[in-house]
């Protein structure tokens, strides 16, 4: 049914009340109608209101508390395969129409009077945020939060004789978003993200080691108070002490066992990014023509999803208003699906997967990962280590990256040599190097201890929260950079 649209009255300040909800509907419809009447194929408006706080504790003192508040609008217009995107903090009627004019102008279009036959109006709002409105008030107070993190930095000292620098950080972000599109999409969500970081630097004469851990959650107000700070502090200190006197690893080609949790960062970087449709658009993925073909060892099944309760990359709807889902990327080694957003679907033909994500209103959404992991296999983790005569065990991974030609590299934060099926000396300075299409077939064993870890992923649409994960896995051969 066509909806007759008339000009809605914009409030003096579009977001005067700081509320992003259904009361904006008329104004949003008017903006969308202007865009469609100008000849655009598709218009999308993303509005964001953000309220966050972060603090840093060093040794036994809170040294910095940083609240941040902000709001903004991103307007995207498509004409054929092309799109124009404009973001602004200016919520006045004039500011919003100027932003729309800019986006239209990028595609050679011009705003005219509204045609009532060109736009059907927005659907009834799909309000995923309704059940989450009390989240913020359920979170611990700033006082409780700082006390908890100070308790953690204090525990770091208790468990580590050589710990020189102790740092704890915490951030809480409450994001309120609304997506309104000319195809009728009309969704709202409230998102609560929390992240806790704990880092140490251990020192003894010329020896140094630094170890860190991150805990992250989505939609769990009690994350901080539920956190077992003592267990994390103990784990970090044990690692720092072991790595303090570790020798540098010798470079070479060798089998490797990668631990669970953050070990999954390699799959995320080396393979996951290559399964995003933005990589197909650029022609930078070797997997473009490999759908339904074997790209990994049969032992590997990998998924990306936004559904795991409380996981850092979980979302109710993506930033294009699509409900989240579980997407099987690789099943028993066979490529099953790419991650696709609206532009990806338009330009590559791969169906959207609820993967359109962005850091904020200042970025256009792009196909991005959520919670990405290799599924568990049949083995006990010890069986993987026992199967190796000479190799490396990567207990904890640092960061890494993948280049335009698919080559990846990752630093190993905590590593041990494997000799005759047993863990031996700790080693530092190791880097894992390779290419996804060569390494994926070499993942020959997956253990039964799948676990996830929180992280941040930076890419074309900014920094977003994600989860990586895997069980312990064995790679038959990989290049290890060292000294």
């Amino acid at each position: 049914m066509k909806v007759a649209l008339t000009k809605a009255r914009f409030s003096e300040n579009f977001l005067k009340t700081d509320q992003i909800d259904d009361h904006l509907k008329r104004n949003l419809e008017e903006l969308l109608a202007y865009g469609i009447s100008a000849g655009a194929d598709f218009v999308e408006i993303f509005i964001e209101n953000i309220d966050s706080i972060a603090f840093l504790a060093e040794q036994d003192t809170v040294t910095s508390v940083n609240p941040s508040i902000g709001k903004g609008v991103g307007i995207r217009v498509f004409l054929g395969n092309k799109d124009g995107f404009v973001s602004t903090n200016d919520f006045s009627e004039q500011g919003l129409k100027f932003a729309l004019d800019q986006a239209l102008g990028m595609l050679g279009l011009e705003r005219n009077s509204i045609s009532k036959y060109s736009f059907n109006g927005l659907n009834v709002i799909n309000d995923y945020g309704k059940a989450k409105s009390g989240y913020l008030s359920l979170c611990p107070s700033l006082k409780e939060s700082t006390n908890k993190v100070l308790e953690a930095t204090s525990l770091l000292q208790k468990h580590g004789p050589h710990i020189s620098v102790r740092r704890g950080s915490y951030s809480k972000t409450f994001q309120e978003v609304i997506v309104a599109s000319s195809d009728g999409t009309y969704g709202r969500d409230l998102r609560l993200y929390q992240s806790i970081g704990l880092n140490v630097l251990a020192l003894d004469k010329q020896y140094r080691s630094s170890i860190g851990r991150r805990i992250g959650s989505a939609g769990k107000p009690n994350t901080l108070l539920d956190w077992d700070a003592e267990a994390t502090a103990k784990e970090i200190n044990e690692s720092a002490e072991k790595m303090l006197y570790a020798k540098y690893v010798s470079a070479g080609q060798m089998p490797a066992v990668l631990a669970n949790k953050f070990g999954g960062v390699i799959f995320h970087e080396a393979c996951g990014h290559l399964l995003e449709t933005t990589q197909i658009e650029r022609g930078t993925t070797p997997f473009e023509q490999k759908l339904n073909q074997q790209i990994a060892n049969k032992a590997v099944t990998a998924v990306d999803e936004g559904l795991t309760d409380g996981a850092f990359g979980s979302i109710s709807m993506d930033d294009e208003g699509m409900e989240t889902q579980k997407t099987v990327l690789i099943e028993n080694g066979i490529l099953k699906q790419f991650l696709s957003d609206r532009a990806g679907e338009l330009r590559t033909g791969h169906n959207r997967t609820g993967s359109g994500r962005r850091q904020s209103y200042a970025f256009a959404a792009a196909s991005r990962m959520r919670n990405t992991y290799i599924e568990k296999g049949p083995y006990d983790p010890n069986e993987l280590i026992e199967s190796i005569d000479n190799g490396i065990y990567c207990k904890s991974m640092g960061g890494g990256s993948v280049g335009a030609t698919g080559q990846f590299n990752f630093s190993v934060e905590e590593g041990y040599l494997i000799k005759n099926g047993k863990l031996t000396d700790p080693v530092k300075g190791a880097t894992l190097i390779g290419e996804a299409k060569e390494v994926m077939p070499r993942i020959s064993m997956c253990a039964n201890d799948l676990d996830l870890a929180a992280g941040f992923c930076g890419s074309i649409s900014g920094n977003i929260n994600v989860t990586v994960g895997q069980p312990h896995i064995k790679v038959d051969s990989i290049t290890v950079g060292g000294r």
């Binding site: 300040n13 005067k16 603090f55 003192t61 809170v62 040294t63 910095s64 508390v65 940083n66 609240p67 941040s68 508040i69 902000g70 709001k71 092309k82 799109d83 124009g84 995107f85 404009v86 973001s87 602004t88 903090n89 200016d90 500011g95 932003a99 800019q102 102008g105 990028m106 700033l142 700082t146 620098v165 630097l201 140094r208 630094s210 470079a251 080609q253 022609g283 930078t284 200042a362 256009a364 960061g399 990256s401 280049g403 335009a404 030609t405 698919g406 080559q407 590299n409 630093s411 530092k428 300075g429 190791a430 880097t431 190097i433 290419e435 290049t479 290890v480 950079g481 060292g482 000294r483």
Partner: protein, 459 residues
Amino acid sequence: MTMSNNESLISEQNLRDKLTKLSNEIKIKKWDLGASIGKDTSVQIDKGEPKQIKASQKSSITIRVWNKENAVGITSTSDLSEAGLRKALNSAFSASEFANKLESPNFSKLSQNALPNLQRPIGQSLGVKKLLAYLIEAESKLLDKHNSIKSIPYNGFAESKYERVYINSDGAFRHMESTQASLYLYARAEEEGRKPRSSGSIKLAYAADDINIEECINEAAEKTLRHLNYQPIKTNKYLICFKPEAFLDLLTSFSNIYNARSIIDGISLSNKNSIGEQISSNIMSLSDEGLHKDNFGACTFDGEGTPTQNITLIDSGILKNLIHSEATARIFGCNPTGHAGIGAKVSVSPDWPVIYKTKGETAKYPDLQFQHTKEEFVLVENLHALHAGIKSSQGSFSLPFDGWLVKNGEQISIESATIAGDIKNLLKNIIQIEDDNQSTHQGVCPHIWVDELAVTGDA
């Protein structure tokens, strides 16, 4: 769609008046504010067609307030309306309750000193249509450079106008406008039966019209094509020559060496007594020159309103000075150096490193020249994944790189390799610094030679 070049994005006077009025209402006597307001336009293309065109109008303000106990609270906001500023002031005041009483920042004593006279042009905006037309032409020319160049997967042409403001309740009042344009072209080349190779070029200027597009195309093509004929390298220790961009990347990643904040926090490779120590070969000197003529992002003041200045950090291998904020300078008993951000705990960071050969010092191997040396060495062009491979508080690095194995003057592109070492050892093992100081988009540096670093390859 064109940016209005003469129109200010912000009324500083209006902002100061609003803050003064609101702080009086809330009974906050001491406050300061740092603001950045900008307009950006950028375009990306794919095979002659616009792929994404973006524009933004952004404002970002950080407000600090001091409570009766002289403790500092802070809030950042993008909302410049009166309601937004009131909310931010109140939020900052609440945050001051949790301030670090052991180390409280103050106003910089230089925040009302005269600023350096920085005569930088304000560029004219080209607008989307011209940016697109230039980029499409550049892509076409780059693709035509060689049959093996199949695509330009990473490309962008952008222009921006920014204004920065610093105001405090003691009357400091800083304002600066700047424009910047950037072009980047990263080509991907592929030959039958060979792995794809990728490289590129970035160019900066005050205005898009001043960008040397031809040079960017030629550099991107040359770099990409020179890597086509690659070979694996044997894992070993090699004589190394760093190209300027690579060495700047590496040294900047370890800037904690001369960063007073890092020293106080215990995460520096130096300590409070390191000034006067020999930390590198005596042929290396380093200054930080935020006002350098080639620094397109130059600003005349830092986040605390301190004037930007050029400062010698390492002279003949000896650590001479540190970079400071107001708080770190107070602890060290010196003046702030114009390297501060703004915050409850103020960060300190370098502006524009200039590395050069110390006058009058002779290198251990003065005959080494990257264009003429016959001895085998590895020429490191670009370092990658610095965020992952640098352990800044430990001093170690292990980084993938693009480069060449050079034998008898013949350069063979290295297929895939990492370079690893320890920065303190590396600095002391510098055996030659060439005389070819080159301005890059991140600083100035010549070719620098280092003895014996470990390279891991696939051979």
